[in-house]
């Protein structure tokens, strides 16, 4: 049943031509491990009718820089994934999150032997820590990590000329992401975040697991003896009010217990949305179109702006509100940074423009 659902999700989108090259984002977590396994299973299927005619490549992004506390475990964590990817027998790459800041083209490596260590450099590490520590709240940090991860994947796929990226985002996660995005004022981007295909950029980001709930993934992994590890994030050991996404996760999970259709309903709501029509300016961080606010009569943005002006008793516009190169959601992100936000914005913008 899972195999069928997986193939059906890819098939019914009618989007991925035969023999396409796809880049699978592998994090070592349950969902992406299941994704790799399902994809390999379908690709290697001896039955010609059921064989999925795709040419996969894999990528592992080391995110140990985010869980700064113990440096020693870094290599050991990554090594098991690298070893596994090596076993898949397809082309695979490794890099680490901070390499987003690498100015040259050498921001990733192909895996050639099984004990390869993810690429990193002190320069990038320093840059990364500087930017990340600039964000005051964990919510913003998480959001920033999510965005840069996508940008890094995008850059890598572009460089390798692979037209599709497969993400292991499953339905349960999508529902959480959707709500978190709503909370962060990204209402007009939900279509990309939740839909099967995110085509904000040339390389298409595809979510073949979008119709699976967590339970199904866990069962699949159990039955197929897929190895995975609970990935650590910034908020893993924090309480539920640590960040908006953590809170949303707790909320959706508890609601799902009482109302089992919760995840499906949220995802279906997302299916009924469409992107903004005018695509003139793109946000530098999330690459979605920026809503032209000038034609709103009166909106939440303006209401908030007025409140700020009034209660600070200032008359000039506040900088990040007028920042043309970021969407509303990403502007909120920038607002949450420490006083040096004016240094951060060019840093981010310059990066994504290049």
């Amino acid at each position: 049943m899972c195999r069928h659902k997986f193939r059906a999700t890819i098939g019914k989108s009618n989007m991925i031509p035969h023999k396409s090259r796809v880049l699978v984002a592998y994090s070592g977590g349950a969902a992406s491990a299941a994704l790799c396994d399902m994809l390999l299973d379908s690709v290697r299927n001896p039955d010609l009718h059921k064989k999925l005619n795709l040419e996969p490549a894999f990528v592992f992004i080391d995110e140990s820089i985010c869980s700064l506390n113990d440096e020693s475990s870094t290599s050991s964590v990554a090594s098991s994934e690298v070893e596994l990817m090596h076993c898949f027998g397809f082309k695979s790459f490794i890099t680490s999150l901070e390499m987003y800041f690498e100015p040259t083209d050498k921001f990733y490596e192909q895996v050639i032997h099984e004990s390869q260590v993810p690429l990193s450099s002190d320069y990038c590490k320093q840059k990364w820590n500087f930017v990340l520590n600039n964000f005051k709240s964990l919510t913003s940090k998480e959001e920033y990590i999510r965005r840069t991860r996508n940008l890094l994947l995008l850059k890598l796929a572009e460089k390798e000329k692979i037209p599709f990226v497969f993400l292991g985002t499953m339905g349960s996660r999508l529902a959480i992401n959707l709500l978190t995005d709503v909370l962060q004022g990204k209402g007009n981007q939900l279509h990309y975040e939740v839909g099967f295909c995110d085509d904000r950029h040339e390389v298409k980001f595809v979510k073949p697991l979008r119709e699976f709930v967590k339970k199904e993934i866990v069962f699949w992994n159990q039955m197929r003896k897929v190895k995975y590890r609970e990935t650590q994030t910034l908020t893993t050991k924090r309480d539920k009010n640590a960040s908006l996404s953590k809170l949303t996760e707790a909320f959706v999970t508890s609601l799902e217990r009482d109302f089992p259709a919760t995840v499906y309903t949220i995802v279906r709501t997302g299916n009924k949305l469409k992107p903004l029509e005018k695509a003139e300016i793109k946000c530098s961080l999330c690459l979605s179109q920026i809503d032209d606010e000038s034609n709103h009569q009166y909106s939440a943005t303006k209401a908030l702006l007025l409140s700020e002006k009034l209660s600070k008793n200032v008359h000039e516009e506040i900088d990040f509100h007028t920042h043309k190169k970021l969407c509303y959601g990403c502007r909120i992100l920038m607002k949450d940074s420490l006083n040096s936000s004016m240094e951060i914005i060019p840093e981010i913008c310059a990066k994504s423009d290049s």
């Binding site: 709503v182 908006l244 909320f251 992107p275 007025l306 009034l310 209660s311």
Partner: protein, 350 residues
């Protein structure tokens, strides 16, 4: 050392604005609060000069502040509006009777006329009686459906052009989240607009929410500092409903990031629904003539259920209800024909 107000840099700050986090003194807070509501009213063009505005007043904090501020702004900026208070008496002992007392006091204090309509008069059932039939589950559905219509009827009786309700930013954000969770695309689209029911057909009286961008916390603060007379008790029947979960969630969100409430509203405002998604068409109930997306409106279905001793009738999907036929004999709410038919049928059986 007490902080000074960040706005006038003179007086002592008494509050930290939940919306922006700025410390303000009492006077500056009042000024900001009032200016913001004024801005919302004028920018969104909620009213036209000379209109009669019915303020939906429950006696709670939101509507008390709404009545007060509408009165203040109307006098100060000369909107030229004729303001009246409109209250609905659901007939809940120990809750509504007390809150209506505070509305009556406001009537005197603000010099606005007050009209009270009761469920008992309109529908023949008070909430207390309904709860006896329906039980404590789902009773809020009845109350909500009936109140919506009752407000319309009351406003019609008063000849009002607009109804204003005290829905605040928190309420709207909550509704947006609820509709996402329930997959209710239709309402998702409607819930964010500041004016509803101003369709082309003019069949209903438009409603608007001047507090759309006003935080609940600031309304409470405003009422507190102004020493307004309001009633604050939970409805005795309010159970741990689905909305309750969402409310807790929203409060948690606010504690993590206060601006999130407005961000949610922004999200709701900019959501766009795909073409081709089926949306129910709003029509008119064939029975009572009020706005409805079904052939027969929910209120009629529920009422019929109550009258026939099938209280659960209104809780499921209205579209599935086939039992009720529209009245054909007359436009008023008489069911003589049906009753006589039924009587005939039962006579035949016996």
């Amino acid at each position: 050392m007490p902080a000074t107000c960040g706005r006038c840099v003179e007086r002592r700050a008494v509050t930290k604005r939940p919306k922006t986090g700025d410390a303000l003194c009492k006077e500056c807070f009042f000024e900001c609060f009032e200016l913001e509501v004024h801005e919302t009213i004028t920018k969104c063009e909620l009213f036209k000069r000379g209109q009669k505005v019915a303020i939906a007043a429950s006696g709670g904090k939101d509507s008390t502040v709404l009545a007060y501020i509408m009165k203040t702004l109307n006098d100060r900026y000369d909107y030229g509006l004729d303001l009246v208070l409109l209250s609905i008496d659901e007939g809940i002992a120990g809750y509504r009777d007390d809150s209506l007392e505070s509305v009556k006091r406001n009537e005197l204090n603000y010099g606005l006329s007050l009209k009270i309509l009761s469920y008992k008069d309109l529908y023949g059932w008070s909430m207390d009686e309904i709860v006896k039939k329906v039980g404590l589950k789902n009773n809020c559905t009845f109350c909500g459906v009936f109140r919506r219509q009752a407000l319309d009827r009351g406003a019609a009786l008063l000849n009002a052009d607009v109804i204003v309700t005290g829905h605040n930013a928190d309420d709207i954000a909550e509704t947006i989240l609820m509709n996402i969770l329930r997959g209710d695309i239709n309402r998702l689209q409607r819930s964010t607009s500041i004016v509803t029911g101003n369709g082309d057909d003019q069949s209903t009286i438009p409603r608007c929410k001047p507090f759309k961008y006003t935080y609940e916390k600031e309304i409470v603060m405003y009422a507190y500092f102004k020493k307004l007379d309001y009633f604050s008790t939970e409805c005795t029947y309010s159970p741990n409903s689905y909305r309750g979960h969402v409310r807790t969630y929203l409060k948690d969100i606010e504690s993590i990031r206060p601006s999130a409430i407005l961000d949610i509203i922004y999200s709701g405002e900019t959501l766009a629904i795909k073409e081709g998604v089926k949306l129910p068409v709003q029509g008119v109930c064939s029975r009572c003539g009020y706005i409805s997306s079904q052939n027969i409106c929910k209120a009629c279905v529920m009422l019929e259920g109550l009258n026939k001793g099938l209280p659960k009738l209104g809780i499921g999907k209205s579209s599935k209800v086939k039992i009720i036929k529209p009245f054909t004999c007359r436009k008023n709410k008489c069911s003589c024909e049906e009753i006589s038919k039924e009587a005939a049928n039962t006579n035949k059986v016996t």
